[in-house]
């Protein structure tokens, strides 16, 4: 009897703890230990990505291979010319912070797509509707609509920050998203890797369990890169309680330019 009472007390405390966590406002994302503790769990549901998901530290900063540039395909002549103009804060083309020209972190431009999943990929909420899947990004409080109503991608689209996206289920656990029409004002990531407005991007969301989705992102831009390359290779997204409220993390133009003026510009040496 005593054992049973103890078990019930532990269960009640556990439930309270989980609800307390889920009802917390402004959750900033999982720490590494918490992230690593989440396992795939049971078999995945059929054709469903619904929920709150955290890409963890790798989502924020990008993989080691990625920032070293080793996984990026060689540039074309046009790609070399474009990357030479970029002064990023990370990766093989890093510049001094006083000379940085990252559109996101020095001007407050939108991340755009695919940068939103290649850098500062913070917790995300995925919502299914009858004709679309909505990606709600906590970073910069932004969103994408992935149309699933059978429409074709536009043939000659006006470039947009986040492009035009359609999605389809390859099988019961794999959702494929194709995107075109991204403005070349954005970078592919924080390493200053450029892209043209003819770039095509494919995302592959593989639900491997109740608690895990693995994301692979392929960049196909023959004007800039000599062959397609993978910017995210099975990046795990771990499940959070459905009612987790996310921290609002906006890179406001006034804040990023304030940092540039107050700190970055004053680090310049002769």
């Amino acid at each position: 009897m005593r054992t049973r009472v103890m078990a019930l007390a532990v269960a009640a405390a556990t439930l309270c703890a989980s609800e307390a966590m889920a009802q917390t406002w402004s959750f900033p994302g999982l720490g590494n230990a918490e992230f690593n503790a989440i396992t795939p769990g049971g078999p995945p549901p059929r054709r469903d990505l619904t929920g709150a998901w955290d890409p963890g530290q790798a989502g924020i900063a990008g993989g080691e291979n990625y920032f070293s540039g080793r996984s990026v395909a060689p540039f074309t002549a046009r790609g070399k010319e474009m990357v030479s103009r970029n002064q990023p804060g990370h990766g093989p083309y890093s510049a001094k912070v006083s000379e940085g020209n990252d559109p996101l972190t020095t001007r407050g431009d939108p991340s755009g797509f695919p940068r939103i999943v290649n850098y500062e990929f913070r917790p995300i909420r995925i919502v299914h509707t009858p004709n679309a899947v909505l990606m709600l990004y906590s970073f910069n409080q932004t969103w994408r609509i992935i149309w699933t109503d059978g429409r074709k991608l536009p043939e000659d689209p006006d470039p947009r920050w986040f492009g035009y996206s359609v999605g389809r289920w390859e099988n019961d656990t794999t959702f494929i998203v194709d995107t075109v029409g991204m403005t070349d004002r954005t970078w592919v990531d924080s390493g200053g890797f450029p892209h043209s407005e003819g770039m095509k991007v494919q995302e592959r969301y593989q639900r491997t369990g109740v608690n895990v989705i693995e994301l692979t992102v392929t960049i196909d831009d023959p004007e800039i890169y000599t062959k397609p390359w993978i910017s995210r290779d099975r990046l795990p997204l771990k499940r959070l309680p459905d009612n987790t409220d996310f921290l609002e993390q906006v890179y406001a133009a006034s804040e990023v330019t304030g940092y540039k003026e107050d700190i970055a510009s004053k680090t310049k040496t002769q």
């Binding site: 720490g31 590494n32 924020i60 890093s94 912070v97 006083s98 921290l247 993390q249 406001a252 107050d262």
Partner: protein, 123 residues
């Protein structure tokens, strides 16, 4: 269901018990710094912002002159994970800050740790 609750309980416990520091994603590699120094002063402003939060403090030199330093740390999400908050500092607080100063000689730098008068240290 019970397994899911346990997973969330593990997360909740970690949240309640505090989080391991996470390296700032904007490392100091491209911030032209030189060594580390400790400055002590009075907070004039704590700017909770992205991509870096900024602490401003007045530091009195041995000759009595006062210089205002602006020292930067991580973005608000990474700081939140490490227990920092918008209300962590207020004007008038006396703090001790370990920084990497800019090589330029300007009174700016990157924060390594901040210690409050009670001894609480944030990194």
């Amino acid at each position: 269901m019970s397994k899911r609750i346990l997973v969330f309980a593990a997360i909740a416990a970690a949240v309640l018990l505090g989080r391991a520091p996470v390296l700032a994603h904007h490392g100091a590699a491209t911030f032209d710094t030189e060594g580390e120094i400790t400055i002590k002063g009075t907070v004039t402003e704590w700017v909770w912002s992205n991509p870096h939060s900024i602490l401003r403090l007045e530091v009195k030199a041995a000759d009595g002159t006062v210089k205002t330093w602006s020292v930067a740390t991580a973005n608000i999400a990474d700081l939140s994970k490490r227990g920092w908050s918008r209300r962590l500092f207020k004007p008038g607080d006396e703090v001790t800050v370990l920084i990497q100063p800019a090589k330029s000689g300007e009174p700016v730098g990157m924060i390594r740790t901040v210690t409050l008068p009670g001894g609480q240290k944030y990194q």
